[in-house]
Chain length 417, copies 2
Amino acid sequence: MTHLRDQALACRDAAPAIAALDTAAKQHLLNRMADALAADTHAVLEANARDMEAARHNGTSAAMLDRLRLDEGRVAGVVAAIRQVAALPDPVGLVTRREVRPNGISVERVRIPLGVIAMIYEARPNVTADAAALCLMAGNSAILRGGSDAMHSNLAIAAALRRALRDQGLPEAAITVVDDPSRETMVELLQLADIIDLAIPRGGEGLIRFVTEHARVPVIKHYKGVCHLYVDKDADEALAIDLLIDGKTSRPGVCNALETLLVHRDIAASFLPKAVAALHARNVEVRGDETARILAPEVGIATDEDYAAEFLDLVIAVRVVPDIDEAIIHIRRFGSDHTEVIATQDILAADRFVKALRSAVVMVNASSRFSDGGELGLGTEIGISTTRLHAYGPMGAESLTVERFVVRGEGQTRHPV
Amino acid sequence: MTHLRDQALACRDAAPAIAALDTAAKQHLLNRMADALAADTHAVLEANARDMEAARHNGTSAAMLDRLRLDEGRVAGVVAAIRQVAALPDPVGLVTRREVRPNGISVERVRIPLGVIAMIYEARPNVTADAAALCLMAGNSAILRGGSDAMHSNLAIAAALRRALRDQGLPEAAITVVDDPSRETMVELLQLADIIDLAIPRGGEGLIRFVTEHARVPVIKHYKGVCHLYVDKDADEALAIDLLIDGKTSRPGVCNALETLLVHRDIAASFLPKAVAALHARNVEVRGDETARILAPEVGIATDEDYAAEFLDLVIAVRVVPDIDEAIIHIRRFGSDHTEVIATQDILAADRFVKALRSAVVMVNASSRFSDGGELGLGTEIGISTTRLHAYGPMGAESLTVERFVVRGEGQTRHPV
């Protein structure tokens, strides 16, 4: 047996003990995990310093270094996030439907944990704690495969969390960090169909494609966000500018930031020059089609690559469309099914936009930046699913459970015996 | 481009037209599909006769021949089943939750179709019509890969259904039969991750393993049912015998039939001889452990293989267990997560059994034979999922949709602009 399979089996064997915890026990456990992590701040920062040094040595980009870096404030943020998860409603045991059938049997649908969840992620070490806390609150064990860049940080964080498990008399393997960062081991992990109930990859195109190609376990992808704002001919222009500026500039590096602006032809001459001016005032580079460049000559040239791009930066692609149908066709062609926004005062146009698009989140007159578990009322999120199965869009604790059937009778049989 | 990819792309391109149909249009479409199939009865039976002849020539077993065979009554049954699906509640557009957030944005979760569903199944040609009808009622297109044995029957059924699509001005590719039954083409189908939203394999261990190994599309397995009846020490013996006889003998060839009987030691001396007598009276072969064979000497020997077996026949494995915990351990070890039953008058034992097991359906004092979409109130089913994700247990029309987020605001932004 390989070391990974050993680790994964231990994680699976720990799952029933976690599934059996009641809400109060899980809350207590998570708060003790938060305490343990706070107590280990120094050790975590030391481990992180080793990761940072190696990353700098490897010529890692400044943006990646920033995602990898921890400091006292960031660790305190992770500790606070664990306590927030502890305060979430417990999805396990929730009876979502109940019906008494004509023959008298009672049929309930009740949420149970999924079992063993594998998280596959890249540099950010806070995911180790966030994902572990949310998986455990939903009654699951977690096997965590972070990037090799963050290995020391991830192991130090997990050591604190596992100590809390042990102190509560629970199997520490309920939180397991895959300590071999090789691609071969990731492939092996993805093929443990008898052990892992769900793998959640969070990351860029390369990681997602690799996971899809190699997985034999169920996968819910958290893929990129090529989010659109479509400004309809009946839009309130000031409102549309607000959505544009918030969507593009409030945090350009996240997946719910806007990447493309589509403008109805009839409003473009009025709206586009103002929009471009507002974007330029915020140092956003604007790349547009021919019509946009006629209306706002300072706009650069957009290619199909720009329309498909998740810039994650102060860049936006713009296109003028003849009608809402062309906007919908554009989004279907270039979008990533993440989040789309329409600005319009026309309720029929809004309905048409919502119905014709099948993205995970569709918004009318609200910022794409609300496409987030916390903002949409889930308390927190393990990420944003772009897989149209099980959970689509922001995933909270409930998404880490599944409904099953509990039937109670008094000896009913299907046929007379 | 291969022929299969061509077929699959046409099926995907047909999906928006189906997704856009309202409930009345879908009901009308399905009733016209039923009419068309009824009108084509003769052609379908002719095609089936060709399949039957080839199957006989290939030495197919009598049980398989029976599953393959159609006659006027069976076709009429399929026609009636399509009309039943047309009468089901439409899951698409259902608002499952609505919340207004403190900032005033309204957050709704609304069901949308999955998109393109691939059904992979074996001999039974009725699945072609059943699956197509249920997929379409939930707003999806269906790509159907049946067994090569039933190819003529499947194509003849699909021809009728597609004619109804055409007559309604809808793209007939919304129901597509994969006309190349080779394994290579099945592999190709399972890797169309850019086209297919969900693959549902229904079948035995070989088919399921093949699909799991080759799929790059999301898969929900419909795997075997090794269903257990545990007779607790506080069971009502007459009630337990009813559940046993109904579960084992009312239709032994289906996945919700009982395969194993577990009996608490304290009730075994009284219960087991009666149970074995009742089973023998129905021509059921009983294979048991040593204790069972002491209490009922006419019982044969059970091996671990028997405990893992889905007999689908008049055979049952029996084991005497020292307590409920051993019953739970046995089920966890040998079960297939399908359906488990406890017979007990002790409410604490019932709760313990329900909570400790994570099978899709757990029953207290009711027959395993109720583990069926129709019996549990779903109207009908596309099968019984043994994958603990998205849908677990009997899957109805709702399981062929997913919740997404629709947000409505009045220009709210996440940060002040």
